[in-house]
Symmetry: C2
Subunit: 287 residues, 2 copies
DNA sequence: CAATTTTATTCGATTGATATGAATATAACG
DNA sequence: CGTTATATTCATATCAATCGAATAAAATTG
């Protein structure tokens, strides 16, 4: 038996829908459907009551899903054994730029607990520049920040990933197009003083031509996206955040210069006491 | 991840050899090798130290194998959920013909514990005819016997499987061939009075032409095979028992009439109090 | 209750994974 | 040191999984 069948079963039981599960697992609805059909055949049991749409888990299906959790947990423990970083011990102070913490911190934490059980972590969130300063002063061992312009070259900078910046607007304003929208709706601007804020400001200056209806500055990605959903205005933010927070009331548009990227990087002191652990910390940020 | 990779890992760790594991799992050595390579890649870990031949499990490999056991156990519990026979409750008295009990009883027991946790069983072993009699008298609810000639037609007979009868001889006598061997070595005959004994007697009368060196009657398959290993003489027994008990000192030969079969069947009283459970009992005899 | 939307299943085609057998390489054994 | 036992590699064939499009079925809406 293959555990990915069990994982999709679990996902379905979480989201109560084949289609949603398919999205979460990055595959087609058809694949999910086939997988569940396959699973039911292998087990020679009917896990779903297909008189309902979406199909509803049968009592047996529910029981199987519970056992499935046990299987994937056991599998996870097996894999953890292989990916442990036993040399990572002691206490680490790690900073996360606010705009990335929601996405990177949770997986970092679960990875850390699994793979570096002997290490302890203190977390701190803030603006890129402040975090950078603290790493330099030794108040933090490492920080995940937005790279903007030039970074202090006395720090070691490991680029972790690049995120496209995309526009998010209320669906009602979507058909207008970008240019028109700027004239009639306020732009929700993430703090222009921050690392990512500077990038946003730069792009708006370029594409907006200064012809902007009005500008609202906010310091919170979630709040901005809530405003978009409410129809207050439109915004420009990293794609993963937009995707994470958007619902069906939000239209997504891509800038003309679609090479507009925000770089997230891990900064450390190249010859600090925890320099040898940089790679290990970096590895905990993924998977 | 696919659990069959873990199962082969476990089998290898049991038998300490890729080749043996391949045999047990009914696949080629090459497949086993590929699977383990695959597993090591997936886990990004080296489970075997290939400076040894057969490869030796690394400490990590050993640890992984332990966790693998947990995974397959969890998987087994999941499958058990689906194959439960919840309507099989109460106490059942089941007989096994001695010559089949060693092979069928263990799997029956594990299946019963897994799939019919609410039922209790009493077991009894004996000769086919005696067991048949007890089923007829209601002293047993069911029995697995060797079908010989005509069975009492007041009993329900479900043929479970057919087993080929094969000769087993000490390797030293192997090259002689069957006819020659009969002239120089004693034949180890399983009790001629029993169901399977009758079949054996029948075949020996046919192929032996009465020209037999000598005949030793024994009532125990294991004992007969031990004698064969010791070089005492040769025998004719069901293939699965020979395969189970043979070692490299034993040569196996097939009768000219290789259609010679022994039928194992489940007999029950067609209208007894447990008649409705016959199918369920039958299903417990197999995987 | 019919029309429409949402959601899942089925189907054909393509792609990828896995097993096999033969050839090769490597460790173990006498 | 040659032989045997054992595992790996490679090419090939077979089988399974995924995708996208078409279809079917339940849920929702007017």
């Amino acid at each position: 038996m293959q555990t990915h069948l069990l994982k999709t079963l679990l996902k379905i039981s979480q989201v109560q829908s084949f289609a949603l599960a398919a999205e979460h697992l990055n595959m087609t609805l058809s694949a999910v459907s086939m997988q569940m059909k396959n699973l039911e055949e292998q087990l020679d049991a009917s896990l779903f009551d297909r008189k309902f749409r979406p199909p509803k888990l049968t009592p047996l299906g529910l029981a199987v899903a519970e056992k499935a959790q046990a299987v994937v947990d056991a599998e996870q423990k097996l894999m953890d054994l292989c990916h442990r970083i036993d040399h990572l011990t002691g206490r680490y102070r790690v900073g996360f730029v606010s705009t990335a913490s929601a996405r990177l911190l949770p997986s970092f934490l679960t990875n850390a607990l699994r793979r570096a059980p002997d290490a302890k972590f203190d977390f701190e969130t803030g603006l890129s520049e402040q975090l950078e300063e603290k790493v330099f002063n030794g108040q933090l061992d490492a920080a995940v920040i937005t790279v903007s312009g030039q970074t202090d070259d006395r720090l070691k900078v490991d680029v972790l990933l690049e995120e496209r910046l995309v526009f998010a607007a209320p669906k009602s304003l979507g058909p207008l197009g970008l240019k028109a929208m700027m004239l009639v709706a306020p732009f929700l601007h993430f703090m222009p003083s921050t690392g990512i804020g500077k990038l946003i400001a730069q792009e708006m200056a370029r594409s907006g031509d200064g012809m902007m209806h009005s500008k609202l500055v906010l310091d919170n990605v979630e709040a901005i996206m809530e405003c978009v959903k409410e129809g207050v205005g439109f915004t420009l933010l990293p794609e993963p955040d937009v995707m994470r927070l958007a619902d069906n009331k939000v239209a997504i548009m891509y800038p003309e210069d679609s090479g507009l990227m925000r770089q997230l990087a891990l900064v450390t002191l190249p010859d600090g006491p925890t320099a040898s652990s940089t790679e290990a910390l970096k590895s905990l940020l993924f998977d």
